[in-house]
């Protein structure tokens, strides 16, 4: 990186002039508000310095660096290396509340996991919007587990360790059962006989009725199976 100064004893003066030209171009490009045209740089260089060679060399010097010299429409300019652009984005945590639907869906996934979308809808009694499940996946609290070994092979959902961490649970079996929920007053009044709260499992392994997700991880989401059939299906 520091090898920007090359010394050729034979052409000591020429080499020095070249280094000075590099420095001048570097400073000009650094301090200018707008991209600098080659002509404008050439104008400032010591006599005899070739602007193209200077810029070429500079570009080379900065190629692997945190800042690159780029050619843009109006001339040349320094820009942050594109792989480091994330440095210039300050993430601002924006606390958001989960919607009621999302919270309910999350709760069902937590208690009933592994659970399919159809099962969630059956429990909630309403259709679950794609957005709700996407959002839950985005929170990092819900993951795709596998596929239920039933017709249509629906995706099964479960919770993640992040879910446990966020809700302060040591394990998924820390989720209170029916009696505890009743005791804490979450359930009120009579419940139909046979009403139960399942014992959830978020074990990393798949259950007997689950298949692994496909290898083609391009589809991270459950495909829209309930969309109208396309022509090829006819």
């Amino acid at each position: 990186m520091s090898a920007n100064v090359e010394r050729f004893d034979r052409h000591d003066e020429a080499a020095e002039a070249f280094v000075q030209a590099l420095r001048i171009a570097e400073a000009l490009l650094f301090a200018s508000r707008e991209p600098v045209s080659e002509a404008a740089i050439a104008e400032r260089l010591p006599k005899g310095a070739e602007v193209a060679a200077v810029l070429d060399r500079l570009q080379h010097l900065y190629a692997g660096r945190g800042v690159n010299l780029r050619r843009v429409a109006q001339g040349w300019m320094f820009r942050t290396a594109s792989d480091l652009s994330y440095l210039l984005a300050r993430e601002l945590a924006e606390p958001k509340k989960l919607s009621r639907a999302a919270l309910e869906t999350l709760a069902i996934i937590a208690y009933h996991q592994p659970v399919t979308r159809a099962e969630i809808e059956d429990i909630r009694g309403v259709a679950t919007s794609r957005g709700t499940l996407d959002l839950l996946l985005e929170t990092g609290w819900v993951r795709l587990r596998g596929r239920r070994r039933t017709p249509g092979r629906p995706v099964t959902y479960g919770t993640t360790p992040a879910f446990l961490a966020h809700f302060g649970l040591e394990g998924i079996d820390d989720l209170p059962g029916l009696d505890e929920l009743k005791g804490a007053g979450f359930f009120e009044g009579r419940l139909p006989s046979g009403f139960s709260v399942p014992v959830p499992s978020d074990a990393p392994g798949l259950r007997d009725d689950e298949d692994p997700l496909e290898e083609d991880l391009f589809f991270l989401r459950e495909p829209d199976v309930d969309e109208p059939l396309t022509d090829s299906d006819q």
């Binding site: 989960l98 649970l169 209170p176």
Partner: protein, 271 residues
Amino acid sequence: MSVVELPFEEVAERGTSEPALIVDVDGFEGPLDLLLELARRQKVDLARISILALAEQYIVFIEEARRLRLELAADYLVMAAWLAYLKSRLLLPEKPKGDEPSASDLASALTLRLQRLEAIRAAARRLSDLDQLGRDVFARGAPEPMSVVARPTWDATLYDLLDAYARQRQKAANARVTLRKRFVWSLVEAREALERLVGSAQDWTALDEYLIAYVAAPGMQATVRASALSATLEMVREGVLDLRQDGAFAPLWIRRRAGLGQSDSGEGGVA
């Protein structure tokens, strides 16, 4: 205030917003500045300067200015008066006078003030000689600003979660109980029932009797009758059933069409 041109004029530097009342006679900024300039002309170290001589020079200068009828700011005149007083004190033998400072104390205090002014002037010059940003050295001309990316952090408590779960499970459980009340007998249900019915009835059978026997809840008779009639008409159209009514509002009789098997092989033929 007139701006006066005198022989030893310096370049007057005044900020544009400075009121004219700041005396700028001959480019001096106030009496202390003038004194300092006069002191410099003594060409000795300020510490060894003759305050007496300096006071005399100052007074002469001010008198000259007044002779020229130049208007001088009060500061200059006050300083002149004070220096005249100091001069007389320095010339007269010192009389001890309580805690009043001696003339030499006053003189050295003035010397000190001049030294301070000179020192700060030197400091200002050195400060100004530093490489200044935007004058001698330059920062990045096109800084790349930080962009703020809002990253939602989801917030929910365990209480929220349990509350949501219990609430909807309870709601769903209650909803399911009411569903079993079955307010409506659907066409599909009616048809299934009728198919079972005619399967065993080879002869004319009164539909109403069957229906009454079939339906337990009296509140459902209307929906049962409507659905059953619709289903019957559909099955007649399909040639599975014969339907007969002897008069308006008379009982409806149904019979399995002759030649059909007991099972579901209804397509077998139409008599």
